[in-house]
């Protein structure tokens, strides 16, 4: 005998409570973080214009919106938005992951991967790696705790100082590949989760995701490579 339907006619969709809702949160916060990553990259690339430009850009971030906004205020707004986005992204990821792990208490002898990608399968641990990387990154360039010769305000110097050590550069490189994979699957997933698949979108979703991810990885890696190659000094 069939047991009665458990949730009887909850005709109101409860976006946040549902697993789909969690995915929507991940998609939206993911897109916010992606926009940050892109903006950050564009800023970073100014390093190729020389110390003066680069340091001016860093200072410019603090005086954004001046004179209307006090120094550093918009930067803090951005930081708060990012922190909330990161928090929500991770929270949703944990809930979704726990649901999925709980959904298969007895595993398979083997489950062959057919359609999925390396990027998709490494989302969870990739996310953890990215968190660790971000912590290191902040300690390196924002707080200067792990930077070999941190000079507050001289961002250009700090970057060169850090990347001159090849293990640091290599670590950054690896982290950027992980970010690229995360962005690739994340962006294409966001299209899917937000239901953006109408023609012609459906045809270029994967391509766009791949291109964005590739450019991000290449752009970020270009800096340590340039430092090690002596182009930036």
């Amino acid at each position: 005998m069939t047991p009665p339907v458990a949730a009887h006619a909850p005709a109101t969709p409860r976006l946040v409570r549902s697993l789909i809702g969690k995915k929507v949160i991940m998609a939206i916060t993911g897109v916010i973080l992606l926009l940050f990553v892109i903006a950050h990259l564009l800023g970073n690339l100014k390093v190729f214009q020389g110390a003066e430009h680069f340091n001016a850009y860093a200072e410019g971030l603090r005086t954004l919106g001046a004179p209307f906004f006090p120094r550093g205020s918009l930067l803090w707004v951005a930081r708060v938005v990012l922190l909330v986005a990161v928090g929500a992204h991770i929270w949703a990821a944990i809930v979704v992951t726990r649901a999925s792990w709980g959904a298969r208490p007895v595993g398979y002898h083997a489950l062959e991967a057919v359609e999925t990608t390396y990027a998709a399968r490494t989302m969870r641990w990739g996310g953890v790696i990215i968190v660790l990387y971000v912590i290191y990154h902040l300690l390196d360039f924002t707080f200067g705790r792990v930077n070999p010769s941190f000079v507050p305000g001289d961002v250009y110097h700090n970057v060169i100082a850090s990347f001159r050590a090849w293990p640091v550069s290599a670590g950054y490189g690896v982290a950027m590949v992980v970010v690229g994979l995360h962005v690739y699957h994340g962006l294409w997933s966001a299209f899917q989760t937000l239901g953006l698949n109408r023609p012609p979108t459906v045809r270029w979703r994967r391509g766009v995701a791949g291109m964005v991810a590739g450019l991000i990885t290449a752009g970020y890696i270009a800096i340590p490579v340039a430092v090690l190659a002596g182009v930036l000094r």
């Binding site: 005998m1 069939t2 009665p4 339907v5 009887h8």
Partner: protein, 637 residues
Amino acid sequence: MELRSKVPSGPLAEQWERHRAEIKLVNPANKLKHRIIVVGSGLAGASAAASLAELGYNVSCFCFQDSARRAHSIAAQGGINAAKNYQNDGDSVFRLFYDTVKGGDFRAREANVYRLAQISVNIIDQCVAQGVPFAREYGGLLANRSFGGVQVSRTFYARGQTGQQLLLGAYQALSRQIGLSKVTMYPRSEMLDLVVVDGRARGIIVRDLVSGRVSAHGGDAVVLATGGYSNVYYLSTNAKGCNVTAIWRAHKRGAAFANPCFTQIHPTCIPVTGHHQAKLTLMSESLRNDGRIWVPRRKGDTRSPNEIPDDERDYYLERLYPSYGNLAPRDIASRRAKEVCDEGRGVGPGGHGVYLDFRDAIARLGREVIAERYGNLFEMYQRITAENPFAAPMRIYPAPHYTMGGLWVDYNLMTTIDGLYAIGEANYSDHGANRLGASALMQGLADGYFILPYTIGDYLAQVKLDQLDTAHPAFRRTQAEVSDRVNKLVAAGGRKSVDAFHRELGRLLWDNCGMSRAAAGLQEARDRICVLREEFWRDVYVGGTGEDFNQTLEHAGRVADFLEFAELMCHDALHREESCGCHFREEYQTPEGEAKRDDARFGYVAAWEFAGVGVAPVLHREPLEFATVHPAQRSYT
């Protein structure tokens, strides 16, 4: 036993309307007090259960599958007929009625068939409203195709999965009622007996296939929608679980069984490949729209089909039936295939096959059009045979597919037991001695959606039923009998497997009560069935226990019933000394080899009353009167 057909008086076209106006209604408040048991969740069962629940009745619905959605109606491929005349090709209710009566070789009840044709149009409306994604034309209106045995395009279809889509429509309607708690669904539950109290059907005994628990369920009426019995042949196009048990048990409790020997052998199935074969696969009859059927002219021609030039091919259906050609009705197409194979002109391993060739259609319409029309069927064929139908013709051979016979029912679909109804393939009604393509879905849904929900009220409104619970002695007795039988099967410590008995029975029937039948063979088969049945109970091995999930035990119970039923089938085939539709008695044929009916002696429905296992059943005749159509030698030439 008395057969009262209860056909309303008056002109054919007005009978159903008049009947509906005259039958008694159950008032809405009283409907809530009735419980109706529906066994089976295919097109007929699901549509009936859903419609009854919509009316307010409480329904208990049982199926042996793990979900109502898996009933074998799901496998119907081709389509469903309706007299919509959307193609403007001269179709009408009367023409559909006429085609069906003629296709059935004048062995169906006129009034029922006319009603079926009338209702056909409502079915399409109902299914479209439920969201059945029928094929459409570019203008957004419904598309049609043609099917065997008719000259108009009246078949509605959803790719090659029409049965699936119609069943999902009914399943969804049923699911809605389950969600509303109007229907209690019992999946993985098999009906093993009928409970009759004071001559009325009041409940069933059911075995839960997971726990093995045998339980009794009471109600005010019982509806059997348990499908056909083609699996009596072991190899058939039916699902492995299809069986005769429910209707056979009802028969043993007093329901007359009508025309059991009317079994349809479908012409377009994939031939047998080896002794391991567990079932046969049907290729939709719609393939005959564009495929041409042929065999080599010469016996024992072993050349590959593409090397045989046109003038050495025998397109025998086109030769024998110029006006219908490859779209000749199923019984005829099957018999002719057997004939050419028996002549030694069959193709493929063992010579049990004929070609179904798309070469000309591909040349005429292009590969894309053929792929669009039959792509999924071609893929299925290739998966099973590893041969590509685009490159070489398909090989096909007839296989048991549908059973026109079933429980005898009156115009209200009630059997000879009061309060026991049979709908869909489980009853004998509308197809006579041969069913036309795309008519089974029509009948199942007509019975379930539009006929039974009205007619059952007529009974419930008039009858005074005592309150019963399952502690009643009749329930206890029947339940004990069922448990005993289950225990007996489990305890049987013989040497032969259930499967071996089933195969042997199937072979016996296929050889002697299949596409062509003769008195001597039928007599011999009948005797051998009795012997086999005795051997079964003496020497079968089931194993396991009755208290858990035991698929061998399920099968054993079904085979035990097939072994009793098969005898009745042969008995019926032997008694019907004429050929009609699917029932081809070698002694009765025209010089051209067509079926030769004997309306004077056999223009009736043979309804058999059970008299005991191994005892000759009692024949009751329902004379068939044709007031509107005039039975003639069926001609498709």
